[in-house]
């Protein structure tokens, strides 16, 4: 019985994977996913304490973009739509896309199925930076962006330390990179505990939850252009690394024989990946799970080729994150659930089910 049940679903998926190998089908799939993303964004912007239909939402968005006019009694709704929800939903889409793509790149680059964007200590570094700024009141000149800036700096410092500590004799071995990242993360968490311990009355305790579970509550138009620029540019760069990632996934020796210097590529990728992750963490905290699981989910459907995975994964991740954020702000409104809670509660069962049906995810083990 169970053998039949397992054998059946495998067939259509293999067929889809084969069809996706053709560039035309891949482009069509991406266009379809993009349309789903646009629809999700419009629907999500309309939903919340003040309900707005998708058609109305689209009208407001059009007014905002084209500079049209609205009736006087619509101003409150318009402001909720345009000033609060739109930047928030767009940020969710960007971060979802970024985390998925970075997850794909990092898993190939360190050759580890358990790697995610935060495996190199970026998130705990960011937390230390953010909490440090909050407690000390540093970077005050940056105003409302001080905490984000602190988080970004913390993330980059963490990446750099991990990089410096793991390279030896000019080589950067994948396993060393992961182990150093894990060790450094624990160190940063301890550092953060120390800061909070000595500043118990500050708002730092609340910030820890925010930074370790993630939220788009602080989204505004102000920070969005920077995030958009870094994430979209990062996606383009990572996509260009598609074949190089394929080769890296075959191992360093093979990579050398195929004309790819694994060390050099890992180094440049580390810079790209740290910048994207640092920016994302600075504006949304460390949203777990997406960067770990989305790559696996997408690979199960489209196969392992990175050019394909890196085209599809950001779109799927963006759609997923838009809906996760919607749940986070509507389920227990007016309070908000941390994003990490929802990504795990929704993602884990889906992931386990798919993994059991497919039989293997990564490494065939």
């Amino acid at each position: 019985m169970s053998a039949v049940a397992e054998a059946l679903p495998a067939k259509p998926r293999t067929a889809l994977r084969e069809r996706l190998a053709s560039p035309k089908v891949l482009v069509l799939t991406c266009v379809a996913l993009f349309l789903v993303l646009v629809a999700s964004v419009v629907v999500a912007i309309g939903l919340g304490a003040a309900l707005v239909t998708p058609a109305e939402t689209a009208r407001y968005l059009w007014v905002a973009l084209s500079g049209g006019s609205i009736a006087a009694d619509e101003i409150t709704t318009y402001q909720i739509i345009w000033q609060i929800r739109t930047p928030r939903v767009l940020l969710a889409a960007l971060v979802g896309a970024g985390l998925s793509a970075v997850g794909v790149a990092i898993q190939a680059m360190v050759r580890n199925a358990l790697a995610d964007p935060f495996v190199l200590g970026v998130s705990s570094g960011a937390s230390v930076g953010a909490v440090g700024v909050t407690v000390t009141g540093g970077l005050a000149a940056l105003g409302v962006y001080a905490v984000s800036a602190g988080a970004f700096i913390g993330a980059l410092v963490a990446s750099f330390l991990v990089y410096a500590a793991s390279s030896s004799r000019g080589a950067l071995s994948p396993l060393r990179l992961v182990l150093t990242g894990v060790a450094m993360s624990l160190g940063f968490q301890a550092l953060m505990s120390v800061i909070i311990y000595f500043a118990p009355d500050s708002e730092a305790t609340g910030m820890v939850l925010y930074w370790t579970m993630g939220s788009f509550g602080a989204a505004s138009w102000g920070a969005l252009p920077v995030v958009a620029a870094v994430v979209l540019l990062g996606l383009a760069v990572l996509h260009r690394y598609g074949r190089a990632l394929d080769v890296l996934a075959l191992g360093d020796e093979t990579a050398a024989s195929l004309g790819v210097s694994a060390d050099r590529h890992r180094r440049s990728l580390l810079v790209v990946v740290s910048l994207i992750t640092g920016v994302m963490v600075a504006v949304s905290g460390a949203i777990s799970f997406v960067g770990l699981v989305m790559p696996h989910l997408v690979r199960m459907v489209v196969g392992a080729g990175h050019a394909r995975v890196l085209a599809v994964a950001p779109l799927v991740g963006a759609v997923f994150m838009v809906w996760v954020d919607l749940l986070s702000r509507t389920v227990v409104a007016p309070r908000e659930l941390p994003l990490g809670v929802i990504t795990a509660l929704v993602g884990v069962p889906v992931f386990i089910t798919l993994m059991r049906r497919k039989g293997h995810v990564f490494g065939g083990r």
């Binding site: 191992g251 024989s257 790819v260």
Partner: protein, 255 residues
């Protein structure tokens, strides 16, 4: 194109693994590198396919010192079938073979018509066509080695190096893999464990012992009872193969 290893030396953590190794492989020749475990065979080979930078000496392909060439350029001239064949991601056979074209392509460029034909021909030749859409992780050891060889051939190398290509294979697959070496077109340098297979498959042999080349020449010249006793510490009787005349070693566990 010929391959010349010229006074090659490798030192790692103060330990000299390969010392002053010089070995020439003429255009179209199949040369085997044999020696006991830890004699430096794989280390020397890693310098040839540029996974390792030699501390001394040079590896020349067609006269050019490969460390002076861009990685892509040397990979266009020289392909390797390495030991770290284990892949973690579930690429299809087709995809892995196509990656052999990576040194000839830029970015994510799609395969040209000629390149697709090349891949199809290599898979045909190694009897992989029926496995083209299969995941690499579902293959047996022998099938996987054939995929790696197909990938190396698709690279259209002038020189092919192989690091123990028969490892973990049963005897049928060992013979099969080695039968593809001769007449594969390019110049071949292969590290082998099995001396009898090496004698059958190679035009010439080089014997490494403690990082030094202690003998080189035709299998008949090199594989003597004295050398085998000296280098491998094993007593063997050398007899000519009844059909081919290649020297073959017989080992007696008790004498």
């Amino acid at each position: 194109m010929d391959l010349r290893i010229d006074g090659l030396g490798v030192t790692i953590d103060g330990r000299s693994l390969v010392h002053d190794l010089s070995l020439d492989v003429a255009d179209g020749e199949v040369v085997g590198l044999v020696g006991p475990n830890g004699s430096g065979k794989s280390t020397a080979l890693r310098c040839v396919y540029r996974a390792l930078r030699p501390a001394a000496g040079a590896v020349r392909v067609g006269g050019d010192d490969i460390t002076r060439l861009p990685m892509r350029r040397s990979a266009q001239l020289l392909a390797a079938m390495t030991q770290d064949g284990a892949v973690d991601l579930d690429f299809t056979v087709e995809e892995v073979v196509a990656l052999g074209r990576a040194p000839h392509q830029r970015g994510n460029q799609a395969l040209t018509g000629r390149e697709r034909e090349l891949c199809a021909a290599a898979m045909e030749r190694l009897n992989l066509t029926h496995l083209a859409r299969r995941g690499i992780l579902t293959l047996s050891g022998g099938e996987r080695q054939r995929v790696l060889l197909a990938r190396a051939l698709v690279q259209e190398p002038r020189v092919l190096v192989l690091d123990e290509p028969t490892n973990h294979l049963d005897i049928r697959h060992q013979v099969e893999i080695l039968s593809h070496l001769r007449g594969a077109g390019p110049t071949v340098l292969v590290v082998l464990h099995d001396l009898n297979l090496a004698a059958a498959a190679c035009d010439r042999l080089g014997v490494l012992h403690q990082g030094r080349l202690v003998a080189s020449g035709t299998p008949k010249d090199v594989l003597t009872e004295a050398l085998v006793a000296d280098v491998f510490g094993v007593r063997a009787t050398v007899v000519p193969h009844p059909l081919t005349g290649d020297p073959q070693l017989l080992y007696a566990l008790h004498s």
